[in-house]
């Protein structure tokens, strides 16, 4: 029983991180009908931005002195990483995606794969392939209930991810930018005719999605201890599957999908075999496409000529 609860908690925290990343995929897909393959790399760059920010703020000194990293500095690290990732997301959109926006559908997809490869391999050159230990911007505290171990890191992941998702929900439902984004998502051309600056909406969509991915990156680093330049590849794909599972283009769906994928992965690893933890994600994807291609919370959208 305690083992089951332990796997459940680990699965939930992993799932929350997937959910944060999945939001970026689903938002971009919503407005542009594009699988932003580079999103996994934005997540990775976000994690590295947090790493360097923490380092610049002297996290090593606090570690050496055995003191905790002050909360305001930790929040500053989070803000820096989110800002850096948002900037990268907007840059990628402006330099790579905008020129091919009106091209045949395959062109943006190949561009996205190219950008993803480019970011990943530049990161391999700049950061080196060796994994790095993530700085302790949160001093770990362990709680034990009936053989189940919960750390404050896991709790923070869950709380912070929930807060960010609620924030996003409010942003989309209550602000005028959110209204514009929803209109663009429904029909880009019509939204443009209605006087919505769709270029602006797309930029902000990339910025928001990337910032959330960066938050995911920092949480991932804290949770998984090390980061490396290739961490975005599989994590990104899993988050994308989460978005498809929840219903691509659907924001609550991305959160639900993320949690479900995290749990599925953790339970597969714990009870079946860790060898198939990655395979299960793809089996879920194929099953969803076969049975319910619109996803759990998605609506069927007929493609117009």
């Amino acid at each position: 029983m305690s083992q089951f609860l332990q796997q459940l908690i680990n699965g939930l925290s992993l799932g929350s991180i997937y959910a944060l990343i999945a939001l970026g995929y689903t938002m971009v897909y919503g407005v542009l009908r594009l699988i932003n393959f580079a999103h996994g790399e934005v997540f990775m760059v976000g994690a590295y931005a947090g790493y360097y920010a923490a380092w610049l703020l002297g996290v090593e000194r606090f570690e050496a002195a055995g003191q905790g990293f002050p909360l305001y500095l930790a929040l500053l690290v989070l803000a820096v990483a989110m800002g850096a990732a948002a900037l990268l997301g907007v840059l990628v959109e402006a330099l790579a995606y905008r020129p091919v926006r009106s091209a045949p559908r395959l062109t943006p997809l190949i561009t996205a794969i190219g950008v993803s490869l480019l970011l990943q391999n530049v990161a391999l050159l700049v950061f080196s392939p060796n994994p790095r230990r993530y700085p302790a911007i949160l001093t770990e505290v362990r709680f034990e209930f009936a053989g189940v171990i919960v750390t404050n890191v896991k709790l923070t992941i869950f709380v912070l991810a929930s807060l960010l998702m609620v924030g996003l929900h409010l942003l989309i439902q209550k602000t005028s930018w959110g209204r514009g984004a929803r209109a663009t998502s429904a029909n880009l051309d019509a939204a443009e005719l209605m006087g919505i600056d769709t270029g602006q909406v797309i930029r902000w969509t990339f910025a928001t999605g990337s910032a959330l991915a960066a938050a995911g990156g920092i949480l991932f680093g804290l949770d998984q201890i090390t980061i490396n330049p290739q961490m975005g590849v599989l994590t990104g794909i899993k988050a994308f599957v989460a978005a498809v599972l929840g219903g691509i283009g659907n924001i609550p769906g991305a959160m639900l999908g993320g949690i479900l994928i995290g749990l599925a992965e953790q339970f597969t690893a714990g009870y079946l075999s860790p060898d198939y933890r990655d395979a299960i994600t793809f089996l879920i994807l194929i099953a969803v496409l076969l049975v319910k291609p619109q996803g759990l919370l998605g609506v069927v959208r007929t493609e117009k000529v």
Binding site: V100, R105, L106, L109, L117, L118, N121, V244, D278, A279
Partner: protein
């Protein structure tokens, strides 16, 4: 190709003899290092032309051809080890036995890859092309995981056949280029057949194609299965050239290499794919000292080509279109 049947037989026979002689000449005169790169180039041609059918002609998108290649490679390797001694028992050791074993193994490899293609194609090809990209990517990963865990195929160490004979090096210049020729001619004829035109129609406008009663899903699945089978053949040739294969040889990067071959050549151009295949084989070797920059360069190439020439360097055109002074059939259909 409206020539008389006799002429056609003569042409084909001459080609085969020429290939055989070229192979003998290559073996005798050129260092083995270059021989191997020439073989790799031939295998790349098969890969690129096969992938082009899906990514270029049909406008779908596979990122998992390394997986199909792996299936073909493992199946062909296994069958080759199994059949090798048997075939030698029938007709004695020699070129004949080697060729027979190799080709039987290749056919089995292609069959297994085609089956995998069918299995993946049916669920994902009912949907839009970008899902196919993710499903095939995932499929490639799963295949690698399966081979990594398959103990009878050597798990992570790789499959080298059982001692003492083991996996033999059956692949020769002659057979690589016979198969390259078969695949190129076969897919050329397919592209300019009725099916090929329907595939192009799917690429240009799937809904419109469906509206004129094109069985889009069935055609897409057929094309996908054929493409998977060619990757399987390439995998089989690779396995018998390398005389040992590892799951790690079929990483995602391999699929990217194939994608680069197709895009450099031009999405939809068979001669382009041939050039792309040769280009990648040669540049890989020339860039050995720049290994860490290789994927950066490939990635930049992808992005820049997509922005500047969305259809790839050659576009859908064939290299000899202009030499024939008349436009090929694919040109008419381009928007």
């Amino acid at each position: 190709m409206s020539k008389s049947p006799t002429l056609r037989v003569v042409v084909v026979a001459t080609l085969f003899v020429a290939l055989f002689l070229a192979g003998v000449a290559l073996r005798a005169n050129v260092i083995e290092y270059v021989q191997r790169i020439v073989l790799l180039a031939g295998i790349n041609i098969i890969l690129a032309v096969g992938l082009n059918l899906i990514n270029g002609t049909t406008g779908q998108f596979s990122l998992g051809h390394a997986g199909f290649m792996a299936i073909g490679a493992y199946a062909a390797a296994y069958v080759g080890v199994l059949l090798g001694p048997l075939v030698e028992g029938w007709c004695g050791p020699g070129l004949l036995a080697d060729g027979l074993t190799l080709n039987l193994a290749l056919v089995v490899g292609a069959f297994f890859s085609a089956c995998a293609g069918l299995l993946i194609g049916i669920p994902s090809l009912r949907l839009r092309g970008d899902y196919l990209a993710v499903v095939t990517l995932g499929f490639g990963e799963i295949i690698r995981i399966v081979f990594t865990n398959a103990e009878f195929l050597g798990s992570a160490t790789g499959y080298f056949g059982d001692e003492p004979a083991g996996l033999r090096e059956y692949t020769s210049f002659f057979w690589v280029y016979v198969w390259a020729l078969l695949v190129v001619v076969g897919l050329y004829n397919l592209t300019f057949s009725q099916m090929g035109r329907s595939l192009v129609a799917i690429r240009e406008d799937e809904i419109a194609a469906e509206a004129i009663a094109t069985p889009t899903t069935r055609l897409k699945v057929q094309a996908f299965v054929i493409s998977a089978a060619t990757a399987g053949i390439a995998g089989g040739l690779f396995a018998h050239m390398q005389a040992g294969i590892r799951p790690e040889d079929f990483r995602f990067e391999k699929s990217i290499d194939m994608l680069v071959m197709v895009i450099i050549g031009g999405l939809g151009s068979i001669s382009g794919a041939v050039l792309g295949g040769i280009f990648v084989a040669v540049t890989l070797e020339l860039m050995r000292d720049l290994a860490q920059y290789r994927l950066v360069i490939y990635a930049l190439l992808l992005v820049v080509i997509m922005i500047v020439r969305p259809r790839g360097l050659l576009g859908t055109r064939e290299l000899f279109d202009t030499w024939k002074k008349k436009s090929g059939p694919s040109q008419g259909s381009r928007a």
